[in-house]
Symmetry: C2
Subunit: 343 residues, 2 copies
């Protein structure tokens, strides 16, 4: 029986929610093989300052003490230069920007990056990371829609990088060949996260299949191929961020579904299955641990996991009794060949 | 109060199902303003010969005697040259081809058109119409997916037309600028149907919204614009085929939805609303009646309808009591400004 021992995963993009749901979700993230997670700030209301982030961090630690949490703030017009310094001094690691209205709880997102240049300058100074959800809002007149929203966004990324070459930037959950090519071309301060589901899905897979529907949407076969190839190339600018986003079944199997794929609970089995299929299991540790650690300048984690090559059926759902609802994971019901054991 | 009197609509592409559901659906099609409908043959099992088509036609007439039915056969390997003659003599109007596996009940679709050349020659001789669902099956290696499946199909259409220039061909429910341009360029024996929903939707509208999910899927804003423009241009090669396809709510609001939009019940109010918004109400009669009649060489219908410019709320759903289910129409719950009255 083949086994692989590797460090617990760095999931450098995760949605853990708050309240009772958080208490349910955070332990599942640990069970899926994560050791450290970078937590998105798009709660309702969103995390706008250091104080709120630290309160949220305490809630996270109570919900699952054995995970390590990297905190972020939501880039917003009330963010001051002084707050950036405060954030850095209190261990906040990144600031997340959302274009207006393109994903869950992004109504407060931004429309114009230049107004944030003083903030970016301060972030550069204090070594904070800019985490970007890189999609343009849809615009009929400009033919921008969810299928090309990421590609249309890319010039914004390039412009920010040119103006702040030392600012570390992560383009989150990339989905397109164009994004892969741009990240490769830009300087070493620019990297990207890739989700398990975007290594696996194309547009065909979320058409009518809401559990595979997320933002940015999965795109053409050639785009997925570009993501797969860059993984196989072992390129250190591309590392794991699951974008795991729990939406209740009732909010997915309806007339107007929430966007997001829930992958925390089986994160490392998914990735072992995918990397195995792509014949690049030897790259897995770099993708799930070292590359992200290096980019974020993190100390190695003191925790290992074991991936075991045995049959594993993904559950159809997790019952969420207190909400009388369920949570449907990625690949629900599917038989895969890898399990994770925490050691 | 503005009213428009015009002939009952020619809906030259409709799915009416069979059995009890047919008895429910056919009267709704009349209520939506149709006078004559071209009925798709993709039942389970599909309509493979004249005899079956005539039996089905009787069921249709029983279900709703006031509609006129144009019948089609499903293009399949058992179709003989003799059957084409028989079909023509019995008033069958078209033969429908489905690429394998791309839409509802198309598992028996075709993969290679050349094997049907003897059939096409006979259809040309007997003046039958070839109705084509023009999508290539998805193919990762060739980067073919549901977003470009129609465009990749177009060379097949052109090839058939070149080989059978007198064969009348309808490319059904077109969704792309490329299709509009090709239809315009080809000879007068080639036309296309356009659905109300493809005049209205883009990819953004079916992402996570299964009631708007159909095959072919709605595409980019620029594609929708091409459809709108060709309507406004009053081009006689483009006419109404609703592709209205009733799928129960339980089969739409789930993890893996059926493809299809149900638009029969409010067909003419939808179109009046859309044409009104596009400032081309004066083109409506050509689109819903004359252009299709001319192409199909049909006698004018002896029936008129009245469109009335008053508030009209589309119902959230139709209850289907015998199935303990519902049917959700296009634009469910939406307030529009046009009603249809049968006169």
């Amino acid at each position: 029986m083949k086994t692989i021992v590797l460090p617990a995963a760095e999931d450098l993009h995760i949605h853990l929610r708050d309240g009772e749901l958080l208490k349910f979700i955070a332990p599942l993230a640990k069970a899926g093989g994560a050791g450290r997670v970078l937590v998105m700030p798009n709660l309702k209301p969103y995390i706008k300052n250091t104080e709120q982030a630290l309160i949220y961090k305490k809630q996270l630690q109570l919900a699952e003490p054995e995970l390590e949490y990297l905190m972020t703030l939501y880039l917003n017009p009330n963010l001051t230069v002084a707050e950036i310094q405060k954030a850095a001094e209190n261990g906040i690691i990144g600031i997340k920007s959302y274009p207006k209205g393109v994903t869950t709880n992004s109504e407060s997102g931004l429309e114009n990056y230049e107004i944030y240049y003083p903030i970016f300058a301060e972030m550069e100074k204090y070594n904070l990371v800019l985490n970007i959800h890189g999609e343009m809002p849809s615009n009929e007149a400009q033919n921008i829609c969810i299928m090309n929203a990421e590609e249309y966004f890319l010039p914004n990324l390039e412009r920010i990088h040119q103006n702040f070459p030392k600012l570390r930037i992560v383009l989150e959950h990339i989905t397109s060949k164009a994004a892969v090519e741009l990240i490769k071309r830009l300087g070493i301060t620019v990297a990207a996260t890739i989700t398990p589901h975007h290594l696996e899905l194309t547009v065909d897979d979320w058409a009518g299949q809401n559990h595979n529907y997320c933002k940015p949407v999965a795109k053409y076969p050639v785009d997925r191929q570009a993501l797969r190839e860059v993984i196989k190339e072992n390129n250190s600018k591309f590392f794991l961020g699951s974008d795991s986003a729990p939406h209740l079944k009732s909010l997915k199997e309806n007339a107007c579904a929430c966007a997001g794929v829930f992958s925390s609970s089986h994160l490392m089995p998914y990735l072992a299955e995918i990397f195995d299929k792509l014949n690049c299991l030897e790259q897995l540790e770099n993708f799930t641990s070292r590359f992200g650690q290096n980019f974020y300048q993190l100390k190695p984690l003191n925790k290992s996991i074991k991936l075991v090559n045995i049959p594993n059926q993904i559950p159809d759902s997790f019952k969420i009794n207190f909400l009388k609802d369920e949570l449907v994971p990625f690949w629900a019901g599917k038989n895969i060949n890898w399990q994770v054991e925490l050691i």
